[in-house]
């Protein structure tokens, strides 16, 4: 096989452009716009119906928020408890401070088995750390088994949605990818494959089955880890995850530390809110739970790699830490008007959409162009906050991160307190904001400006030069009135002096 690409590159590519540039092509790509529009609006409506069925939705949401906040506040304690429980149940726990360490641990574990290929359960954490690429460098091939991830991997593509990574593809595109690429990865697509969902699913099933039956090592993430028992939980729709979790001899799970919940009872809340929020199902078809290893059943060896990779830095931020409550349901993506038009790739991260816009700049910092632009990739319409099943106030965090970009300030990076400088490129804006603040603190100055605008109104151009072109390229400017309100008020005292 000559191909070296294994599906999910580490994000962001070093020169990923800022969000507005990265979004431009997608905004003007009509096929993509209509694929995304159709997909997000369908799931949006279904989610709303699934949630409306529950009379106690608001209380479940509040309970989810409280459980997560409590766990995060005492994460140190719960992680140690989790380690003890997993170890007692026959598993081995590894701690990874960053992506490189996690990748190294996994590669060594796989090599120790003598295997050179692994099957993977859909997992955000392993994409975040670029595990597939890291394994390939060690001569290990990772096969994605989630249908949408398979499409992305075969298509030499990047995921654009948390739950539906190939949401930007339509059926015809998927058929073409299967026809041309499957053969190079294993069992080829059947002759005469059409784009009907049943045929596409069958082609994927045959292709994957071969891999499930052969694989000796499975790699997964987890939706939840229960500290009291050391149980891991994977919630999925297809059953491919369960194959990977049960058939191989060795199972390695890479999980972000924020996925911990204290008890089984806490799961009760999330197993209600997650399926309804993500796939609009009352209950997802497959919920796999495992606790260490069990004789004569499932993998012989189980390794849990606990991943930090910027999470404790985010935890140190009073406003930003709420992003760690996220259960990756992707409801916020599906309602986001910006995501719908910009598409997932513009976010330059495996975490796109509103949650990506607040998570990536916290996990990776705000130094790069893309990360400094993500907090602005929102109109602050609040639709994300409204649907979030753990009540993450995404607009609040966006504004907080904007402040970090323009003002700098204290943040925690790799466990150390640092003072960030304001990002470059905001000097003119900062000056304008200061000038406006000055004018608004001096009503007389404001009034002079308003009068000037009114008196010169016949001279105002219809389009603006420089940065103003961003407005006037697509929208007409409002005409300045003959006099500002305050002049009218002063002249007439609100119409009492006869003038209107």
């Amino acid at each position: 096989m000559s191909r070296t690409f294994v599906g999910m590159p580490v994000f962001p590519p070093p020169t990923h452009p800022a969000f507005p540039e990265a979004a431009r092509d997608a905004v003007h790509n009509h096929t993509l716009r209509s694929n995304l529009r159709h997909a997000t609006h369908t799931i949006r409506a279904k989610r709303a119906r699934a949630v409306a069925e529950l009379s106690d939705w608001d209380r479940l949401r509040e309970a989810g928020r409280l459980i997560k906040d409590h766990t995060l506040r005492h994460l140190d304690r719960y992680l140690v408890q989790l380690e003890e429980s997993v170890t007692a149940a026959g598993g081995t726990v590894h701690w990874a401070v960053d992506a490189a360490e996690a990748n190294r641990i996994v590669a060594e574990l796989v090599k120790a088995t003598g295997e050179s290929e692994v099957v993977k359960v859909k997992s955000m954490a392993t994409q975040e750390i670029g595990l597939n690429e890291a394994l390939l460098e060690e001569g290990i091939r990772a096969y994605e088994t989630d249908l949408a991830e398979l499409i992305v991997q075969l298509g030499n593509d990047r995921p654009s949605h948390i739950l539906v990574p190939a949401i930007h593809r339509n059926r015809g595109e998927i058929r073409d990818i299967f026809r041309t690429e499957m053969g190079a990865w294993g069992r080829p697509a059947p002759d005469g494959l059409t784009d009907t969902p049943a045929e596409l699913a069958e082609a994927a099933r045959l292709h994957l089955r071969e891999k499930f039956l052969r694989a000796k090592v499975g790699i997964s993430g987890a939706n939840f880890m229960v500290a009291e028992t050391g149980t891991l939980v994977v919630v999925e729709s297809e059953g491919n995850g369960r194959m990977c979790l049960t058939l191989p001899e060795t199972l390695i799970s890479v999980v972000g530390i924020e996925k911990t919940v204290p008890t089984w009872q806490d799961l009760e809340v999330f197993l209600q809110t997650l399926p309804r929020s993500s796939t609009a199902e009352r209950m997802n078809p497959y919920t796999s739970m495992w606790t260490g290893t069990t004789d004569e059943d499932g993998p012989r060896a189980f390794h849990l790699v606990l991943l930090d990779n910027g999470r404790t830095d985010a935890l140190a931020d009073q406003v930003g830490r709420q992003a760690l409550r996220c259960i990756r349901c992707s409801a916020c993506l599906n309602v986001c008007p910006v995501y719908e038009r910009a598409g997932g790739h513009a976010y330059g991260s495996v975490y796109p959409g509103p949650i990506g816009a607040i998570l990536s700049p916290q996990l990776r910092g705000t130094a790069s162009e893309i990360d400094a632009s993500l907090p602005y990739a929102s109109s602050l319409c609040g639709a994300c906050y409204e649907v979030c099943p753990v009540a993450i106030d995404i607009p609040e965090v966006l504004v907080h991160l904007r402040e970090r970009v323009v003002e700098g300030g204290v943040a925690v990076r790799q466990g150390n307190k640092v003072v960030l400088k304001p990002a470059k490129g905001h000097a003119a804006e900062r000056a304008a904001m200061r000038a406006a603040r000055w004018a608004f603190s001096h009503p007389g100055a404001l009034r002079t400006g308003q009068r000037l605008a009114s008196r010169t109104r016949r001279l105002h151009p219809r389009t603006l030069p420089g940065p103003g072109r961003a407005w006037s390229a697509t929208r007409d400017l409002p005409a300045a009135p003959a006099e500002p309100f305050r002049d009218w008020w002063q002249r007439t005292r609100g119409g009492k002096d006869g003038a209107k």
């Binding site: 008007p337 608004f440 407005w471």
Partner: protein, 251 residues
């Protein structure tokens, strides 16, 4: 009842007709309206763009100017949400930065007595029929900060439904953002314009002559898109519709 009109800097400068309409409407309903001349801006654009510390003096100024009134009425959902939702948060953040309770204490008095116009009409004055007449086909766009921030709910629609001669038609995708978003409109102009165009197309599909909203910032964006796309509709602030009477009918 003596209330202060917080018109907002945008309306004061660009949309004095909205201000005149609020005065006319409230006066007709027996409310004594004052316009404190020292008022300027609530600081929303500063705050939302990341300049919270620049917004603080504006918030203090607001509190100085309006603190003594019984009620503060504003014809802007987003500025209303700024005061009601974000002023308390600014106080909390200042406290978290080790600057004590001063800011929170200075801002606290204005928070509970600030009302968005339709809220003031329905909740405080207890009216939905304001005696208006506006013989046009209208569709209503609930702006995000009014809808999701302040929770205005169906108040604006109830007010519009009671207007004589007004035919209210449903806006498809009404709760979707129009794409204005303050500096978002400039920083992410392509996405903003695409959202605006979709909003305008949806409005056009209703066959209404007028798209009504309770926030002129959004209407500036929607209206600017309407004329650019040569759609035969016009944006009108809800205050102007509610102020319109049989004797003096607004367009």
């Amino acid at each position: 009842m003596r209330v202060a009109l917080f018109l907002t800097c945008v309306n004061d400068t660009l949309y004095p007709d909205t201000g005149r309409a609020v005065v006319k409407l409230l006066t007709r309903l027996g409310v004594e309206v004052d316009f404190p001349m020292a008022q300027t801006c609530c600081g929303q654009a500063h705050y939302n763009t990341g300049y919270r510390h620049e917004a603080e003096p504006l918030a203090r100024h607001f509190s100085d100017v309006f603190g003594e009134y019984e009620a503060i009425v504003t014809p802007s959902g987003s500025c209303g949400a700024m005061i009601r939702e974000l002023y308390p948060r600014m106080g909390e953040r200042a406290r978290a930065e080790g600057r004590g309770d001063t800011l929170a204490a200075v801002l606290a008095p204005v928070v509970p007595k600030t009302y968005e116009l339709t809220e003031f009409l329905v909740d405080v004055l207890g009216v939905t029929d304001v005696g208006a007449c506006y013989p046009h086909k209208v569709t209503y766009h609930p702006t995000c900060h009014g809808l999701r921030g302040l929770g205005l709910g169906d108040r604006p629609r109830r007010l519009l439904q009671a207007v004589e001669g007004l035919e209210l038609v449903e806006l498809p995708g009404a709760e979707e953002c129009c794409g204005f978003g303050g500096t978002f409109a400039l920083k992410n102009a392509d996405v903003s314009a695409a959202m605006g165009a979709d909003k305008v197309r949806n409005a056009e599909s209703t066959g209404a002559e007028v798209l009504c909203a309770a926030d002129n910032s959004c209407l500036m964006h929607i209206g600017g898109t309407m004329t650019r796309l040569a759609v035969g509709m016009r944006p009108v602030h809800i205050a102007e519709i509610l102020a319109s009477t049989e004797e003096e009918t607004a367009v």
